[in-house]
């Protein structure tokens, strides 16, 4: 809180705060608040590391991800293969590096659609209320009762092959189609389409209480338009649970991708993914002949999940001006 001395106006000095100064202060405040949370910084570093690894995979990886060598199958970690090899004699270390790409493509896309839909419908229902709220909420009731995975399998069986065939005519996209990304996106988007009601309800609840806040009424009294009130006044204050939901689903998307792969509607082999690697080697739990194949992808998934959650926490603190800066 400012002291009385700071309160006093120095009339000799003209105001010299420029628009850029204001923006710069806002940015530095944000970074300082974020930087104060050590775990959030570590989380960011983990994600950045995987981004770099994924980007430069062809140069970092000593072998190709699909290069088999039956003479060197099921080898424990050695100097030539730091993380050992799998049953097909593929270098686990190289596959780990290539799989970073998959994880970093999969996590955001799997999350974004659901979050955008959830936030949008939640804001709409909460702020406008009345019949809009009624429609959105009844729709979400229906979707809650919807067997999401079944719907996804249905789409994967019907829409997906046609889409893949259509996309395959474009030369540039062809390798992506073959790697199973298209198939995966179809499934993920399908899941998001039926999966947004949870977040929408969360957002709606926030909006309902924020809508009654006096600063929202003040904005209305000032003549601020409804859309601006929604985005400028309500949304930023409803953000904390959204960010938590976002970071949690980022982490779980990496895990979910693995289970979808297991069901055969995820990333197609031989495209490497950490999830698929874990599932493929699941048998080794019972006969721990090659446990090394499980440890590396398991740790990678865990690290990334934690990292996203730490980043979420850090963002929440950094975006909250009431969090004191000392």
């Amino acid at each position: 809180m400012p002291t009385p001395e700071q309160l006093a106006i120095d009339r000799r000095a003209p105001l010299r705060v420029s628009v850029w100064q204001v923006r710069w202060r806002r940015f530095t405040d944000f970074t300082r608040r974020y930087a104060r949370n050590r775990m959030a910084v570590i989380g960011l570093l983990i994600v950045l590391t995987w981004v770099v690894v994924g980007l430069f995979a062809p140069w970092i990886a000593p072998y190709g991800y699909d290069k088999t060598n039956y003479n060197a199958a099921n080898q424990p970690p050695s100097f030539a293969h730091p993380l050992g090899t799998d049953a097909l004699g593929r270098d686990q270390f190289s596959r780990m590096i290539w799989a970073a790409r998959t994880a970093l493509i999969v996590a955001p896309t799997a999350t974004v659609v659901g979050v955008v839909l959830g936030v949008f419908f939640g804001l709409l229902a909460g702020y406008f209320g009345g019949w809009i709220d009624e429609i959105v909420m009844r729709l979400s009731d229906v979707l809650f009762a919807f067997p999401g995975l079944l719907f996804a399998l249905l789409l994967a069986a019907t829409l997906q092959p046609r889409l893949a065939a259509w996309l395959s005519q474009f030369e540039r996209i062809k390798p992506w189609v073959r790697a199973g990304y298209v198939e995966f996106f179809v499934v993920v988007i399908a899941l998001s389409l039926v999966g947004w009601p949870g977040l929408a309800r969360l957002v709606r609840g926030q909006v309902l209480s924020l809508r009654e806040q006096q600063f929202v009424e003040a904005a209305r009294a000032l003549g601020v338009s409804p859309w601006r009130i929604m985005w400028q006044h309500i949304f930023p204050n409803a953000l904390p649970p959204v960010i938590v939901a976002l970071s949690m689903s980022m982490g779980s998307a990496v895990v979910a991708e693995a289970s979808l792969s297991f069901l055969g509607i995820g990333i197609t082999p031989p495209t490497p993914s950490w999830g698929a690697m874990i599932y493929n080697e699941f048998a080794s739990w019972r006969s721990p002949s090659a446990p090394w194949l499980l440890w590396a992808p398991g740790l990678a998934v865990a690290a990334l999940t934690f990292a996203f959650n730490f980043i979420g926490d850090g963002l929440n603190e950094a975006l909250n001006p009431q969090d004191r800066l000392t």
Binding site: T3, P4, T326
Partner: protein, 340 residues
């Protein structure tokens, strides 16, 4: 009149992550039997914390009573064990708060809540306790007490809830009632009802009252003596007539000049106290009021003035001790000139 309560050099601190809050800083005062003491101060002045310290109701940690004595009926309340203290709280000293809803249990009937106290402290059986409870509710002016006693707190209005709290406080014939802003959340007509009620009960039962408030006007018709608190200290202490006629501390003078009066005919420009109360973590070395004081001299910034007697029973903690009567007079005069 005998001394009922005497507090000596009380000091309370709160240890927070930002530092130590100097909430109460060497407060000494007393209450005589049958007397009504008014305690006035703004939020953060330490008026409530002082009384909570007296009652040993400060959560520890983060709070800590670091110094002082509280003499009540021949015992130092800060030294007796917890069991004894509980006895004092229920039986000898009653306390009512600003928000009666938070002091009442919402899921129990009023009957349960009053009879519990009676059974516990006075060893009555349920029959007796219920009869006494109805009697108490009648005494505090609750209509149809026989029926209302089985209601839940939310079925009462704010004023009625405060009456219930007073009835509970009176259940065991306390010697002292500490009222912490009991009317702040109520409307003026209800406030008048509660004030009348407490005055009546005080005279009937012969108990002493400590009435804590931020409203200097309210105390004029209620208190015998008033202490004014600022930044965890008593800055002025005086019999009621003397305080309003000739306040001797700049803060009290400032308060009287900054509140509009109901009987103001000419529109007088208020004399606001500029600035803000001090930070209780970074406690100032000199007089805590010095930064906002019109009369401050150099000494005020260096040495905290002690409470000194200016006339019989009237104390002021100020190096300057301006004559409030004169200042108020001049102020009224200048206001009249301006408006002409």
């Amino acid at each position: 009149m005998g001394r009922l309560l005497e507090v000596k050099n009380l000091e309370t601190r709160f240890h927070t992550q930002d530092g130590t809050v100097h909430a109460v800083n060497g407060v000494s005062f007393y209450v005589d039997e049958g007397e009504t003491l008014g305690v006035v101060g703004e939020s953060g002045s330490g008026k409530s914390v002082t009384m909570l310290s007296v009652m040993r109701l400060i959560p520890q940690p983060p709070g800590e009573i670091t110094n002082g004595e509280v003499w009540f009926e021949g015992r130092d309340l800060l030294k007796i064990d917890k069991e004894e203290m509980r006895e004092v709280r229920g039986n000898r000293i009653a306390m009512i708060f600003q928000d009666p809803m938070t002091s009442l249990n919402p899921v129990l009937t009023i009957e349960r809540q009053i009879t519990e106290v009676l059974e516990l402290h006075l060893g009555m059986n349920h029959q007796q306790a219920r009869a006494r409870a109805i009697e108490l509710l009648k005494m505090v002016g609750i209509p149809a007490a026989e029926e209302r006693i089985d209601s839940y707190p939310h079925q009462f209005s704010g004023g009625m809830r405060q009456r219930v709290m007073i009835a509970m406080g009176l259940a065991c014939h306390p010697r002292l009632l500490i009222a912490d802003e009991p009317t702040t959340a109520l409307d003026v007509t209800i406030q008048a009802q509660i004030v009348e009620l407490v005055k009546r009960l005080r005279d009937e039962i012969g108990m002493s009252v400590i009435w804590i408030t931020h409203d200097l006007a309210l105390l004029a018709g209620l208190a015998d003596r008033i202490i004014v608190m600022y930044a965890g200290q008593i800055v002025e202490s005086s019999p009621v007539h003397e305080l309003y006629k000739n306040p001797r501390h700049p803060y009290t003078i400032g308060l009287l000049q900054s509140i509009p009066r109901l009987d103001e005919k000419q529109r007088e420009r208020l004399q606001a106290i500029e600035g803000l109360p001090p930070d209780l973590i970074d406690y100032p070395t000199g007089c805590p009021f010095a930064p906002r004081c019109r009369f401050a001299i150099e000494k005020c910034w260096e040495v905290d003035p002690p409470l000194e007697e200016v006339s019989k029973g009237h104390y002021s903690a100020c190096w300057v001790k301006p004559e409030g009567a004169e200042i108020m007079h001049q102020w009224h005069a200048s206001n009249t000139e301006e408006s002409q």
